[in-house]
C-alpha cells in the first residue's frame, strides 16, 4: 500500500512551509467579483453565477443583480474561505446562484454593486438545446487517477492514492476549569501521517465569551512531535495558539474549527488534493470571581508602587504622581486607575501608559497611571497609601496591594485660605482652582518710559545749568575785576607758600611767585595803569630781579618778603 509507505516518507519541509503560512490576520479593503461558469449555454442547461467578495469591510449581504432572460433556480449558497499565504490572511465569501435560461437568445447577469465596489454585467448567449457536457462524476481526489497511470501496467501496481490520508486537527486547551479573567492557552495542532502543502481555515474559529490574544506559534522541530492518537502514530505540528480570557462565568463552548488541508504531490502524476478536517468542540467551565467593594477586576499576581517625580515643588508648579501596577494576569483589562484625592492640591485625571506583552501565563508587564498634582498651598501635601485590589488565583481570594504613603513639600508662595476639605474616599478629586487668597497691593507700577526720559533730560539740563552757572560766576568775577576763580586763588596762595619755604632756591622761589601771579591775575596789560596792575607789575619785576640777580648774598629774606607781598596782592585783588 502506497499510503502506508507515505506515512514513513515525511516531507517535513513541505509541511513546515504550510504551517508557516499561518499568521495573524491583516485587515484590508475588499474586492468584488462576479463570474459565470459559461458564457454560452443551451436553453436546457444551467448557469452557475458566483459573486465573490474578498477582504474585509464588505457588507454581509450582496444583493442579487438584475437578471435578463434568466431565472434563479438555486441558491444563494454561501461559503467562506480564509487563506493564509506568506503570513497574510485573506478572507473571501462566495454567493453562488444556479440560473436557468428562459428562452433562446441573449441573456445577461446585471452589474453587481456592494459598497463602493462594482462588478460589470456579464452577457450570456443562450442557444437551443443543451451544449454543456454532462457533469463529471465526482471522484474521490485520493481514489483512482482519472487519467490512469502509464506505469501501472508496467510495474503491476497502482501509483494513485488508494485511501484517504491519516490527518487530524486538534484544539487543545491548557485547562478546562478556571475563573473569569484567568488565562487559557488554546493550541490548534495538526496530527498527520502525510505531507501537507497548505493549511487554511475554512471557517475562522469563534470565541464567544472570551477575550482573545494571539500568542506566537511555539518553536517545534521541523519534523514535528511524535504522538499517538487512538493507537496510531502521528507527527504533531502546532499551527496556532490563542490566549483566551473568559469574560463571564458558566460553561463556555469553543466551537469546532474546520481546516482545508492541501496535500502535497507524491509523484509526477499525483495532483495532490484537498481534504477538510474539523476539530472537536471544547467546553470550558468558568467559575465567577468573588465580589468585593473596590475590586478592580484584575486577576493574576500584581505589585503596586507609587512615586513622585520630585520631593519638593515650588508653589505654582506641578508634580507628577505615578501609580504603577506590574505583574502577570489580565492587566490589559484594567482601565481605571485608583481614585486619588489630595488635600491642598489639585489632581488632574490620569493618563494611563502600558508596557505589556502576551505570554502563556497571561498578559505580563506594567500599567502606569500618571496624575498631575498642582499644590494650592505651601507646606506639605500628603499622598496616602493607594490601594489596588486583585484576585489571586493561587490564594483563591481577593488581595489588596497598597503603596507606601508619600509626602510632597511645597515651598514659597502664600498660603491659600478656604481650601476644601479632602473629598470622601471613592470620589474622584478634580481639585479646586489654584486661587490666590490675598489681593497683593500693586506696587504702583514703573515710571512710564517718557517720564524717565523727561527726568533724564531734566538731569542733563541741571548738569548744563551747573556748568553754566560756574562759567557765569567766573565771568561775573572777571567783570568785578576779580580775575581769578577761587580755585586759582587757592592754587596761587599755595604756590606762594611754597616759594616762601626754606627749601626752594631763589630761582625756584621767583618762578613760583611768577606762576602764582599769572594764575591769580593772568596777563596784565601794559596800558593798564590801575593800582592793581601797577602792583602786579612791580611784583613781577621784583620776582624777575630775584630770579636773575647774581648770587652775591643771602636772598632768603628777600624771597619771603616778595612772597608775602604777592600773597597780600592776591588776597586783595584776586
Amino acid at each position: 500500500m502506497r499510503t502506508v509507505d507515505r506515512g514513513s516518507r515525511w516531507a517535513p519541509g513541505t509541511a513546515l512551509a504550510a504551517l508557516l503560512l499561518l499568521a495573524p490576520a491583516v485587515a484590508g479593503a475588499f474586492t468584488l467579483r462576479s463570474e459565470v461558469d459559461a458564457r454560452r449555454v443551451g436553453v436546457q442547461d444551467q448557469v452557475q453565477l458566483t459573486i465573490t467578495v474578498e477582504g474585509s469591510g464588505a457588507p454581509d449581504e450582496i444583493p442579487l443583480p438584475a437578471l435578463k432572460n434568466l431565472d434563479v433556480v438555486g441558491g444563494p449558497f454561501q461559503s467562506t474561505q480564509v487563506s493564509i499565504v506568506n503570513g497574510r490572511m485573506t478572507q473571501s465569501r462566495s454567493f453562488t446562484y444556479v440560473l436557468q435560461p428562459r428562452a433562446v437568445g441573449s441573456a445577461e447577469v446585471g452589474a453587481v454593486q456592494a459598497g463602493d465596489q462594482a462588478a460589470p454585467a456579464i452577457p450570456i448567449e443562450i442557444v437551443a438545446g443543451s451544449v454543456r457536457p454532462p457533469p463529471p462524476r465526482r471522484q474521490d481526489p485520493f481514489g483512482t487517477d482519472p487519467f490512469g497511470d502509464p506505469f501501472e501496467e508496467v510495474f503491476g501496481r497502482r501509483r494513485g492514492r488508494a485511501a484517504a490520508p491519516k490527518l487530524l486537527v486538534q484544539a487543545i486547551p491548557s485547562r478546562t476549569r478556571l475563573r473569569v479573567g484567568e488565562p487559557l492557552v488554546l493550541t490548534y495542532a495538526l496530527d498527520t501521517q502525510t505531507s501537507v502543502a497548505d493549511l487554511q481555515f475554512k471557517e475562522a474559529p469563534q470565541f464567544a465569551g472570551f477575550w482573545v490574544e494571539d500568542l506566537e506559534r511555539p518553536q517545534t522541530s521541523p519534523s514535528g512531535e511524535a504522538v499517538t492518537v487512538d493507537g496510531e502514530a502521528y507527527r504533531r505540528f502546532p499551527v496556532m495558539r490563542k490566549l483566551l480570557f473568559p469574560t463571564k462565568a458558566g460553561t463556555l463552548p469553543i466551537p469546532a474549527a474546520t481546516f482545508r488541508i492541501g496535500l502535497a504531490r507524491q509523484g509526477f502524476f499525483d495532483t495532490g488534493g484537498v481534504v477538510e478536517r474539523a476539530t472537536k468542540a471544547v467546553r470550558v467551565a468558568v467559575e465567577p470571581l468573588p465580589e468585593a467593594p473596590g475590586f478592580s477586576g484584575a486577576v493574576g499576581r500584581f505589585r503596586a508602587t507609587a512615586s513622585l517625580d520630585r520631593d519638593v515643588v515650588p508653589l505654582g508648579e506641578a508634580a507628577m504622581l505615578r501609580f504603577r501596577v506590574e505583574g502577570s494576569g489580565n492587566l490589559k483589562w484594567i482601565d481605571r486607575g485608583p481614585e486619588v484625592a489630595l488635600a491642598g492640591a489639585r489632581v488632574f485625571p490620569p493618563q494611563a501608559k502600558s508596557d505589556l506583552r502576551t505570554t502563556t501565563e497571561g498578559i505580563a508587564g506594567s500599567r502606569t497611571w500618571e496624575f498631575v498634582v498642582v499644590p494650592e498651598t505651601s507646606g506639605t501635601v500628603e499622598v496616602p497609601a493607594l490601594s489596588f485590589s486583585y484576585f489571586d488565583p493561587g490564594a483563591g481570594r481577593i488581595v489588596a496591594a497598597e503603596t507606601a504613603p508619600l509626602t510632597l513639600r511645597v515651598e514659597g508662595g502664600t498660603v491659600a485660605v478656604g481650601l476644601p476639605a479632602p473629598p470622601k474616599a471613592g470620589a474622584r478629586a478634580t481639585g479646586t482652582l489654584p486661587l490666590r487668597s490675598d489681593l497683593d497691593p500693586h506696587g504702583g507700577g514703573a515710571l512710564p518710559g517718557r517720564t524717565v526720559a523727561l527726568l533724564a533730560s531734566l538731569a542733563l539740563l541741571l548738569h548744563a545749568g551747573i556748568w553754566g552757572a560756574s562759567r557765569l560766576r567766573g565771568a561775573s568775577r572777571r567783570r568785578e575785576g576779580r580775575a581769578a576763580s577761587p580755585r586759582s586763588v587757592r592754587a596761587a596762595l599755595r604756590d606762594l607758600e611754597r616759594a616762601a619755604g626754606e627749601t626752594a632756591s631763589k630761582e625756584q622761589a621767583a618762578s613760583l611767585v611768577e606762576k602764582a601771579l599769572h594764575e591769580a591775575f593772568g596777563d596784565v596789560p601794559d596800558e593798564d595803569e590801575g593800582e592793581r596792575a601797577r602792583a602786579v607789575r612791580a611784583l613781577l619785576d621784583d620776582a624777575r630781579f630775584v630770579r636773575y640777580a647774581p648770587q652775591l648774598g643771602e636772598y632768603g629774606d628777600k624771597v619771603k618778603d616778595l612772597a608775602a607781598r604777592a600773597a597780600e596782592a592776591v588776597r586783595k585783588w584776586a
Binding site: 515650588p314 508653589l315 505654582g316 508648579e317 485660605v417 478656604g418 476644601p420 479646586t432 482652582l433 489654584p434 486661587l435 490666590r436 487668597s437 490675598d438 489681593l439 497683593d440 497691593p441 500693586h442 506696587g443 507700577g445 514703573a446 515710571l447 512710564p448 518710559g449 517718557r450 517720564t451 524717565v452 526720559a453 527726568l455 533724564a456 538731569a459 542733563l460 541741571l462 548738569h463 551747573i466 556748568w467 560756574s470 580755585r487 587757592r490
Partner: protein
C-alpha cells in the same frame, strides 16, 4: 464759611451709591469673588474681579484669579488676557508666565502670536528690573557728584563720578524710553471675533480674529479698536471682543 453737613452728606451718599466698593474693603470683595469661584459661580466672580480692577485695585493676584475663573468657564481667550495683564503688572511672577505658556499651547498659538511687539517685552524686562528707578538714581547721583565737584574742586574724583553716573543713567533711561515706543496691544477674548471694515456694528466683516491672539492697537474710537492681526489684516474690533493689555479694563456700560 466752609461746607455745611447739609451739602457734604448728599455728596458722600452719591459717591457711595456710585461706587459699590466704597462700603467694603477691596480685600473682602476679593475674597468674596474667590468664594464665588469656588462655588462655581464664575460669571459673578468675574464681574466682581472686574469691579475691583476698574476701581483701581489691579494686581497680578486679581488677574490670576480672574484667569482661573475664566478658564474654568471655558473662556480661554479671556483667561489668557487676564494672565497677560497680570504679567504686565508683575513681570517677575513666574507662575503667571508659566500659565501664559500653558494657555498659549492650549489655544494652539505660536509664541509670536502673543508677542507681536518685541519692544513690549523690553518694557516688561525694564519693569521687572526697575530700570526706571535705576535711571533716576543714577542721574541724581550724577547731579550730586557734579555739584560737589564744582563746590570743592580740589577734592578730586567728583567730576569723573558725575560723568560716569550720568552716562549710565542715560543708558538705563533709554530702555524704558525705547519700550514706551511699543504700540499698545490687545488680546482677542472671543472665538472668531469679527474684524470689521469700519467702527460700526453694521460694518462689513473682513475677517475674523483668533481667540487669544495678541494684536497691536493702531487706533481707537469709542468702543472700537483698530487692530492688525498676525496675518497683516487691519480692521476694527469691538472692545468686548478685544481687550487692551496696556490699560485696566473699561467699566461696564450702564
Amino acid at each position: 464759611m466752609g461746607l455745611s453737613a447739609r451739602t457734604v452728606l448728599p455728596g458722600v451718599l452719591a459717591a457711595a451709591l456710585a461706587c459699590p466698593l466704597l462700603g467694603a474693603p477691596a480685600g473682602e470683595r476679593f475674597r468674596e469673588a474667590n468664594e464665588l469661584v469656588r462655588a462655581g459661580d464664575y460669571p459673578k466672580a468675574i464681574a466682581l474681579y472686574g469691579e475691583l480692577a476698574v476701581s483701581g485695585h489691579e494686581s497680578a493676584s486679581l488677574y490670576w484669579n480672574w484667569a482661573q475663573a475664566a478658564a474654568a468657564r471655558g473662556a480661554q481667550g479671556e483667561a489668557l488676557w487676564a494672565l497677560l495683564r497680570a504679567r504686565e503688572l508683575d513681570p517677575g511672577d513666574r507662575a503667571v508666565v508659566r500659565d501664559v505658556e500653558r494657555l498659549r499651547e492650549a489655544l494652539n498659538l505660536d509664541p509670536a502670536e502673543i508677542a507681536p511687539e518685541p519692544l513690549a517685552g523690553v518694557g516688561r524686562w525694564a519693569r521687572r528690573f526697575r530700570m526706571d528707578l535705576l535711571a533716576v538714581a543714577l542721574v541724581v547721583l550724577s547731579l550730586v557728584a557734579h555739584v560737589l565737584a564744582r563746590a570743592r574742586p580740589r577734592t578730586g574724583g567728583g567730576g569723573g563720578l558725575a560723568w560716569a553716573a550720568l552716562g549710565l543713567g542715560l543708558l538705563a533711561a533709554s530702555i524704558p524710553l525705547a519700550a514706551s515706543l511699543a504700540r499698545p496691544t490687545a488680546t482677542v477674548v472671543r472665538r472668531g471675533a469679527p474684524l470689521l471694515d469700519a467702527a460700526s456694528p453694521t460694518a462689513e466683516t473682513t475677517g475674523s480674529l483668533r481667540e487669544g491672539e495678541v494684536v497691536p492697537v493702531l487706533e481707537s474710537s469709542g468702543a472700537w479698536l483698530r487692530v492688525e492681526d498676525n496675518a497683516g489684516a487691519r480692521g476694527w474690533a469691538h472692545v468686548e471682543d478685544v481687550r487692551r493689555l496696556d490699560t485696566p479694563p473699561a467699566p461696564p456700560p450702564d
